[in-house]
């Protein structure tokens, strides 16, 4: 994929000239806050929306030119729960199979396997409106898989699920890769999910990919722990002095009036830092020690926590989408 861009209404730049590659058989995760452009990217790749510009290829098929062939080899599990709730789970699955030209006998066999895999076999003949949120998510998964796609797009597969159900879904996803060798392209704004599940992660923010690599590679970018310190009267203190006094400190940034200190062995340097700051007349009101995680990687790269902007961005984004649709 090269230079993929989507501009809504000629004014809102949702995805900005991104280029990356996903390898066959891997679980690739797109991590970023809501409104970062994850879903837009997925929807461009699955032919649902038309890229403003850029080039993409899926298994050799060119996006925009061979959409029908692309549609044959991809499966989509969208963010919203979109199974028809006036039909039963089984009816939904069989209908989905017929859309992909899977014959009835094959579809039946596959449906049985997949339903068993996600523990939904017993509920298959119930109307979907009687399902719980977790059950509906699992049904969506089965529906996305019934035609045995080569690439499966999972858009926030565990959005709004409780911890146990989320762990279960992760297990299914891992199973899928193991048993069917499917390439999985997923989006998430859960750090833990990306860390646990993905072979490689692209961190996306404001429509741009800001980092790409394995979870380990990304975490290695941090070069240590992060200490977040809320402080008063910082004015007469030069933060550049800190690394000179304590050699473990790699970097000091001021983010929203907070000190963000990157350091090795945070447990040991933390008391020293507080001492020095107090000596210099800086009043420390609270501290937080953060161990390397993708959350910290995002913080390190953008200076923001992923969750802080999440609510705001998603509301803004939805308003924009609504406006766009009306036109």
């Amino acid at each position: 994929m090269e230079g993929l861009t989507k501009i809504y209404n000629g004014e809102v730049l949702a995805v900005d000239n991104i280029s990356f590659e996903v390898y066959e058989g891997e679980i690739f995760g797109f991590l970023g806050p809501n409104g970062a452009g994850k879903t837009t990217t997925i929807n461009m790749l699955n032919t649902l929306i038309k890229p403003t510009k850029g080039y993409a290829e899926l298994y050799g098929y060119v996006l925009g030119k061979e959409d029908d062939k692309i549609r044959r080899i991809i499966g989509l599990v969208p963010q919203e729960l979109t199974a028809d709730d006036e039909l039963t789970g089984y009816e939904n699955i069989m209908l989905q199979a017929s859309l992909y030209g899977v014959d009835k006998t094959t579809a039946k066999k596959r449906a049985e396997d997949l339903l068993n895999m996600v523990d939904l076999y017993d509920a298959a003949n119930r109307l979907v409106k009687t399902y719980s949120g977790g059950m509906r998510r699992r049904l969506e998964l089965v529906m996305g898989l019934i035609h045995y796609p080569k690439i499966l797009f999972l858009d926030e597969p565990t959005l709004g699920l409780d911890v146990q159900t989320r762990a279960k879904i992760w297990e299914y996803i891992r199973n899928l890769r193991k048993e069917y060798g499917i390439t999985i392209f997923m989006t998430t704004h859960y750090m833990e999910e990306a860390d646990q599940l993905c072979d490689r992660i692209g961190i996306i923010d404001k429509g741009k990919i800001i980092a790409l690599g394995t979870p380990r590679e990304l975490k290695n970018m941090l070069k240590g722990d992060i200490i977040l310190a809320e402080v008063n009267n910082l004015n007469n203190f030069d933060t550049k002095e800190l690394p000179k006094i304590i050699s473990e400190i790699k970097d000091v940034k001021v983010v929203d009036g907070k000190l963000a200190i990157t350091t090795e062995r945070g447990e040991n340097t933390l008391p020293k830092i507080i001492n020095i700051l107090t000596e210099k007349g800086v009043n420390v009101t609270s501290v937080e020690l953060l161990k390397p995680s993708l959350e910290q990687v995002f913080l390190y790269l953008t200076g923001r926590k992923i969750r802080e902007e999440e609510a705001l961005d998603s509301i803004k984004m939805r308003a924009i989408m609504r406006r766009r649709r009306r036109m």
Partner: protein, 278 residues
């Protein structure tokens, strides 16, 4: 099963499962039939006054009969109205055929269909076919009710007339459902669709020969009635049902056929164009 057949079945299944909603489809035409059709008894309104000399009663009665028959094609206004309501019923039941598409767009099911390797026209056609089937099944119930209420079939009405009646209504259903589904291809809110529907249903009904004959209308209204497909299907249906005749005016049949072909082509073209992406 092919994608078209499965998607059509989906619509029909959902319709069948909403039994309560089906009952409501009948309410409006039933009101017209039972309340309006039965209370508006023209024949008894024109009863011969008691002061008419007895030797003229027979002539006056004949004159009244001829006036009514000339206007309505039958002495029984209820039969005239019922045969007019058949087409109106098809209009009403086809009007909401685009609704499922609007809901599919809102609920995200449409995305599912759009990423599938199916022809865009399939999405459109499945709604058209299911809408026609639905309309004709509901019409069967209406026909039985109308006969029970006193609809008088013409002498010699047989299976061929009945089949032609269904074919005419199917053609009308095709014209209306393709039109209303095509209108719904890009609509996001169902309120918009309901507004369009409400804007069109009564004017279409009144500006036709469904309730009153066309020839007593003012000139300008006759012109509107002439381009209204309901008028032409009514002409054909009354010929078939009231006169039990297969002598259908070619003009009306050609007009209906032309409209249906036009709206179908328009719908297919628009679905191809508008359902390419979300």
């Amino acid at each position: 099963m092919s994608a078209l057949a499965s998607l059509t079945m989906r619509e029909l299944k959902k319709w069948y499962r909403r039994r309560i909603a089906i009952i409501f489809t009948f309410i409006t035409p039933l009101f017209w039939l039972a309340l309006f059709g039965k209370s508006m008894n023209l024949y008894s309104l024109l009863k011969i006054p008691s002061n008419v000399p007895p030797q003229f009663v027979q002539f006056v009665q004949q004159a009244i009969d001829q006036i009514i028959i000339a206007a309505f094609g039958t002495k029984d206004y209820f039969t005239f109205l019922a045969t007019g309501m058949f087409s109106v019923f098809i209009l009403f039941s086809s009007m909401f055929s685009g609704m499922s598409l609007i809901f599919d767009r809102r609920l995200g099911y449409l995305s599912r269909l759009l990423v599938a390797p199916i022809r865009r026209e399939t999405i459109f056609l499945s709604r058209v076919i299911s809408s026609i089937i639905r309309s004709l099944l509901q019409f069967t119930a209406l026909l039985i009710i109308a006969i029970a209420l006193g609809l008088q079939l013409g002498d010699g009405f047989n299976i061929i007339h009945l089949a032609s009646l269904y074919a005419t209504l199917a053609l009308l259903a095709l014209a209306f459902s393709t039109l209303f589904i095509a209108l719904s291809l890009k609509i996001e809110e169902h309120d918009t669709a309901i507004a369009i529907t409400n804007l069109l249903n009564l004017p279409l009904m009144f500006a036709s020969n469904s309730i009153f004959p066309k020839n007593q209308m003012p000139q300008w209204l006759q012109i509107i009635a002439d381009i209204n497909p309901l008028t032409h299907s009514n002409i054909i249906i009354r010929k078939l049902v009231i006169e039990a005749s297969l002598d259908i005016p070619i003009k009306s049949l050609a007009y209906l056929l032309g409209i249906a072909i036009l709206t179908t082509i328009l719908g297919l073209y628009l679905s191809r164009k508008l359902l390419k992406h979300l």
